[in-house]
C-alpha cells in the first residue's frame, strides 16, 4: 500500500472534483502545504484588528441606543441603524462561510483546508453570544490557518490566547484572588476561573489521559490570570489581575520574577513539546484522517516525528502520508464515515459549484442549503457542544436521522445550487474515480432521473467512506 491518487483527495482533501486536478504524489501534497498558501488572498478574511473594529462598531451602535432618550425619535433611528448593521454582519458571516466553502471546493491544496477544519475543531471556540459568533471566522483565519503547516506551539499560543478563546473559556473572568485588583475590590469576590487552564491541559495539549493533576490545572490557571481581553486592543496582559508569586506546572517553576506574558508563552511551549502532547496530537490526527482504530505503527511514527521536530506539523503530516497504513483501501464497510461537514463540502466539490455562487450566497440561502441540513445531520456549522469539538467516532454519525438528513440533502440541494445537474453516468466517474464500485456505477446508470442519480452517488458508501 502506498500513495493512491483518489485516496489522496478523498481521505486527505475534500474529494474529487471534475475541474480541479488532484496531487500526483506525496511530495506534491507536501510542497503545497509547505509553500506560501494561495487561497487566503483570493477569498480574504478580516485581520484581527479589522475584526475588532467591526465588533466595536456593532457594540457602539448598541450602546448608543441605551444612552439615547427612551422612546425618542433619535433612539428609534439608532435602533434602526443597529438593526441594519446586524443584518449586514449576518450577511458578512454568510459571505465568510461561502468563502470557506469556495476554498474547499476549488483549492488544489485541499489538504490545507482539511487541516484548517481539523485544527478549528481541536481549538473549538464558538461564540457564546451574537458578537463572538460573528467574530469566529476571523479567529480561524488568523489564529489557526497560518499555522496548519507550521509548529504546534505557535498555533497553541495563537489560539488559546486569542480573544475568541478567552471569551469562550471564560478567561476574562479569571482574576488572581491575591492580585491587586481583587484586593482593591473585595466586595466583588473576584477569583480564579480554571476553565481555560483545564482545557489547555485536557483537550489542547496533554490530553485527558495525560500526566497532570488538579493542582497543575490550578497552578496554570493562576499563571494565566494576567491574560485578558481589552476590547480596543485584543489580548492583553494586565499584571494587576495576575496572581502574585511563582507557579509550578508539571514540576517546573514559571513566573518567578514579576508577572508577564512571556511566562505564559513559556509554559505553553513546554506543554506543546511534551511527549503526552505528541501522542495525543498524533492519535487525534490519525483517527480523524485515517481510521477510528489507527494502526499502532502509524501512531508511533507520527508521534516520534512530532517529538524529533518539536511539533513541526508539516513533518507530522508527512510522517502520516509516508506510512503505508494511511493508504489502506476503503470498501466493504472499511474506512472512516465522513462527518456531515465533510460530506456536504465534498459533495459541493464533486458538483463543482461555481465560485461566484459560493461567494455571493445570501444568509437565508445558506441557512436552507447548509445551516439547517447540517444541524439535522448533527453537526451545526462550527458550533460543537463544548470545547472538545465534534465526536470522531463513526458510530456517532452513522444514525438513522443522520442518513435521512443526508439523503434529503442529496436529493434536494444539488439541483438548487447548479443550473443543470451533470449526467449521473459522468458524475459517478468524476466523483468516485477509477475505483468506483460496480454497484454505484449501475445505480447512476439505472436511476430514473438525474436528481436521484446524483443522490445515489453521493449516498453510496464509496462516497461516504474515506
Amino acid at each position: 500500500m502506498g500513495f493512491d491518487p483518489d485516496i489522496a483527495q478523498t481521505r486527505f482533501g475534500y474529494g474529487l472534483s471534475p475541474k480541479v486536478a488532484g496531487p500526483a504524489d506525496v511530495a506534491e501534497m507536501m510542497a503545497f502545504l509547505r509553500a506560501q498558501e494561495v487561497q487566503m488572498p483570493r477569498f480574504p478574511f478580516p485581520s484581527d484588528a479589522e475584526m475588532r473594529e467591526k465588533m466595536l462598531a456593532l457594540l457602539n451602535a448598541r450602546r448608543k441606543i441605551s444612552k439615547a432618550e427612551k422612546g425618542s425619535d433619535a433612539q428609534q433611528a439608532l435602533q434602526k441603524a443597529y438593526k441594519a448593521a446586524r443584518r449586514a454582519s449576518k450577511q458578512e458571516g454568510a459571505k465568510w462561510i461561502g468563502a470557506t466553502l469556495a476554498r474547499r471546493v476549488w483549492s488544489r491544496d485541499a489538504l490545507r483546508e482539511r487541516l484548517v477544519a481539523f485544527w478549528n475543531d481541536h481549538f473549538s471556540a464558538p461564540g457564546k453570544n451574537v458578537i463572538y459568533r460573528y467574530t469566529e471566522p476571523a479567529y480561524v483565519a488568523n489564529a489557526i490557518r497560518p499555522h496548519v503547516g507550521g509548529r504546534f506551539e505557535d498555533m497553541l499560543i495563537a489560539a488559546v490566547l486569542h480573544p475568541q478563546m478567552l471569551h469562550f473559556l471564560d478567561q476574562n473572568n479569571s482574576v488572581g484572588p491575591n492580585s491587586s485588583i481583587a484586593k482593591k475590590r473585595p466586595q466583588k469576590n473576584l477569583g480564579l476561573n480554571e476553565n481555560l487552564a483545564r482545557e489547555i491541559l485536557e483537550l489542547h495539549t496533554l490530553g485527558v489521559g495525560g500526566g497532570y493533576t488538579q493542582e497543575d490545572v490550578r497552578q496554570l490557571a493562576e499563571l494565566l490570570t494576567g491574560v485578558t481581553t481589552i476590547q480596543k486592543e485584543g489580548t492583553a496582559y494586565l499584571s494587576k489581575r495576575a496572581e502574585p508569586g511563582a507557579e509550578t506546572i508539571l514540576g517546573k517553576d514559571y513566573g518567578t520574577r514579576r508577572a508577564r506574558m512571556s511566562d505564559v508563552h513559556a509554559v505553553l511551549r513546554d506543554l506543546a513539546r511534551h511527549p503526552d502532547t505528541a501522542r495525543h496530537i498524533a492519535r487525534k490526527l490519525a483517527v480523524h484522517f485515517v481510521s477510528d482504530t489507527p494502526d499502532e505503527d502509524l501512531l508511533v511514527s507520527m508521534g516520534a516525528r512530532y517529538l524529533e521536530t518539536d511539533g513541526d506539523l508539516a513533518e507530522v503530516i508527512e510522517a502520516m502520508l509516508r506510512h503505508p497504513a494511511a493508504w489502506a483501501a476503503v470498501g466493504n464497510g472499511a474506512g472512516n464515515f465522513k462527518q456531515p461537514e465533510l460530506f456536504v463540502s465534498s459533495a459541493l466539490r464533486a458538483l463543482a459549484v461555481p465560485k461566484i455562487q459560493l461567494r455571493e450566497v445570501k444568509s437565508h440561502q445558506l441557512e436552507r442549503l447548509l445551516g439547517t441540513p447540517l444541524r439535522t445531520m448533527g453537526q451545526p456549522w462550527r458550533r460543537p457542544f463544548g470545547p472538545d469539538g465534534f465526536e470522531e467516532g463513526d458510530t456517532h454519525w452513522l444514525t438513522a436521522q443522520g442518513m435521512a438528513a443526508r439523503l434529503q440533502w442529496a436529493l434536494g440541494v444539488p439541483a438548487e445550487v447548479l443550473d443543470a445537474l451533470p449526467d449521473p453516468r459522468d458524475f459517478v466517474q468524476t466523483t468516485l474515480g477509477t475505483s468506483a464500485p460496480a454497484s454505484a456505477r449501475f445505480a447512476a446508470e439505472a436511476a430514473e432521473n438525474r436528481r436521484e442519480g446524483i443522490a445515489l452517488v453521493l449516498m453510496s458508501p464509496a462516497f461516504q467512506r474515506v
Partner: protein, 416 residues
C-alpha cells in the same frame, strides 16, 4: 405505514414515496427517546431563551404594575388560577387542561446559575443538572444519568444509537434520536438502487433502513403511488414546498415533534425530550411571547391527544427554562435575561390545578441584584421529585448522580 412490511422488505419494496416535510425549523431540535421498564412516562421540554414566568402567570402585585407599565397593563385574560394569578391569554388552549387538573406551575425556581445570564451557559447548566458548568469532555445530561439508574432501561429496538444535539440526553445510556422534520421523496426504483449500493456496508445499510422506516412513520405520512409519473408530479410539488423560503418552518413544525414523541411514548418509549425555542422576548413582549406560548400549548395538547387516555394518565411533562427574565420591563417593551423563573408541568399523572413554590417579593429591594426575581427554590428539586415519584429512583442517586449537589428536601407532592 405498516412497519412489519418495512422490516421484512428492507428498503421500500413497492412503488411508494416516503413523504415529508420541510427542513427543521430553527426553533425546534430533534426529539430523543428512551424506553424503560414500568408504565410511567416522563417528558422533558427545554424552553430555550428564558421564559418570562411573571408574564405567563401574572401575579396581582402592585409593584409589578409599576415596573411593567405596558406588560402588566393588558386586559385580564379571565383565566385566574389562584389568588389573582392570571394565565396569559395566549395560553388559553391550556385552560381546559388546567380545569381538568392536568396542569400545574412551579414559581420562583431557578437552576444554580447566577450572575452571568448567558443563554449558552444557562442552558448547559439546566441540561447538565449540575451546580457548576460542565467542562471538558466529561459532559452529560441529567436525563441520561437518570436512565442509567432506572431498572430495565433499554434501547427502543426500532432505533439506533444516535447523535443528539441536546446535552440533556447525552451520556453513557443509549438514547435514540430522530427528527420528524427529516424526510425525502424517493422513487421505488431509487430506494432499490440505494439499498443495492449499500449491500456490502452493513452499518450504513442498517442506518438507512431505519431512516426509511422512521421517515415513513413519523414524517408527513407515506404516499403510495401506483405509477411513477404520478409520483414524479407529487414529488415535484413536495420538493417545491421543501425548497421554497416560505416552506421552511411553516406552521406545524413544532406539532410534528410532539406528535412523533407521543407516538413513541404510546409505544415502547418511557422518556422523551425535545425543546421549544423563541422565549427570548427582549422587545415587544406582548407580541413576541405569543408564538412560543402557542407552540408550548400546541405541543402539550398534541402530546395528550397523541398518547391516548391511558398513557396520558401515566404521563408527567416538565417544561423547564434556563432562567427567568427581569422583573422590570425594558425600553423596548420587553424583558431582559433574569434569574428566578418558572417550570410548567402537565400530564394526567400530576397533581394539577396547583401553583407550587413561593414567589419572592417584587419590590426593588426584594429582587436579586436589584433586577431579577429572587429564586426561592432549586428547579432541579422539582425535577428530581417528578423522577422519584415516576420511576422510584432513590434519594442518594438523585442527590449525588442525577443532580449532584442538589438537596432533595421535602416532597412537594407533584404527582397525583
Amino acid at each position: 405505514m405498516n412497519k412489519t412490511v418495512m422490516d421484512r422488505r428492507g428498503f421500500l419494496g413497492r412503488g411508494l414515496a416516503v413523504g415529508c416535510s420541510l427542513a427543521a425549523s430553527p426553533l425546534m431540535t430533534p426529539v430523543s427517546f428512551a424506553a424503560t421498564g414500568g408504565e410511567n412516562r416522563l417528558v422533558v421540554i427545554i424552553l430555550r431563551g428564558g421564559l418570562d414566568g411573571l408574564d405567563l402567570l401574572q401575579p396581582d402585585v402592585a409593584a409589578l404594575k409599576l415596573m411593567r407599565p405596558t406588560l402588566a397593563a393588558r386586559a385580564p385574560s379571565g383565566m385566574e388560577l389562584s389568588e389573582g394569578m392570571m394565565l396569559h391569554a395566549a395560553a388559553k388552549p391550556l385552560w381546559p387542561m388546567w380545569q381538568a387538573g392536568e396542569l400545574a406551575f412551579v414559581q420562583g425556581v431557578s437552576t444554580p446559575y447566577r450572575n452571568k445570564r448567558s443563554h449558552f451557559d444557562g442552558q448547559d447548566l439546566l441540561e447538565a443538572g449540575t451546580t457548576q458548568l460542565p467542562s471538558g469532555a466529561a459532559r452529560d445530561g441529567w436525563l441520561n444519568r437518570m436512565l442509567q439508574h432506572m431498572p430495565n432501561s433499554q434501547m427502543t429496538t426500532a432505533y439506533a444509537v444516535g447523535a443528539d444535539p441536546m446535552l440533556l440526553s447525552q451520556g453513557a445510556a443509549d438514547v435514540e434520536t430522530w427528527s420528524p422534520d427529516v424526510g425525502f421523496v424517493l422513487s421505488s426504483q431509487g430506494a432499490r438502487l440505494l439499498e443495492m449500493t449499500m449491500e456490502r456496508d452493513p452499518a450504513m445499510a442498517q442506518a438507512m433502513q431505519k431512516a426509511m422506516a422512521l421517515a415513513g412513520e413519523g414524517g408527513g405520512g407515506v404516499l403510495e403511488m401506483a405509477d411513477s409519473s404520478m409520483m414524479m408530479d407529487e414529488l415535484e410539488t413536495m420538493m417545491d414546498a421543501q425548497m421554497s423560503p416560505q416552506g421552511r418552518g411553516r406552521a406545524g413544525a413544532h406539532l410534528r415533534v410532539a406528535e412523533f414523541a407521543a407516538e413513541q411514548l404510546r409505544d415502547a418509549a418511557r422518556v422523551a425530550c425535545f425543546s421549544i425555542g423563541g422565549w427570548d422576548t427582549h422587545a415587544a413582549q406582548s407580541r413576541t411571547l405569543k408564538a412560543p406560548l402557542k407552540h408550548l400549548s400546541d405541543s402539550l395538547l398534541a402530546l395528550k391527544a397523541g398518547v391516548g387516555e391511558k398513557v396520558w394518565a401515566r404521563t408527567t411533562v416538565l417544561a423547564m427554562t434556563e432562567f427567568g427574565r427581569t422583573v422590570a420591563e425594558n425600553g423596548t417593551k420587553g424583558t431582559d435575561h433574569g434569574t428566578g423563573g418558572m417550570m410548567v408541568m402537565a400530564g394526567g399523572a400530576i397533581r394539577g390545578q396547583t401553583v407550587h413554590g413561593r414567589l419572592a417579593g417584587l419590590e426593588e429591594v426584594d429582587l436579586f441584584q436589584g433586577r431579577d426575581l429572587m429564586p426561592t427554590d432549586d428547579v432541579r428539586r422539582y425535577a428530581a421529585w417528578a423522577i422519584r415519584e415516576s420511576f422510584g429512583l432513590d434519594r442518594s442517586a438523585l442527590e449525588t448522580v442525577v443532580f449532584p449537589g442538589m438537596k432533595l428536601g421535602d416532597a412537594p407532592g407533584l404527582l397525583a
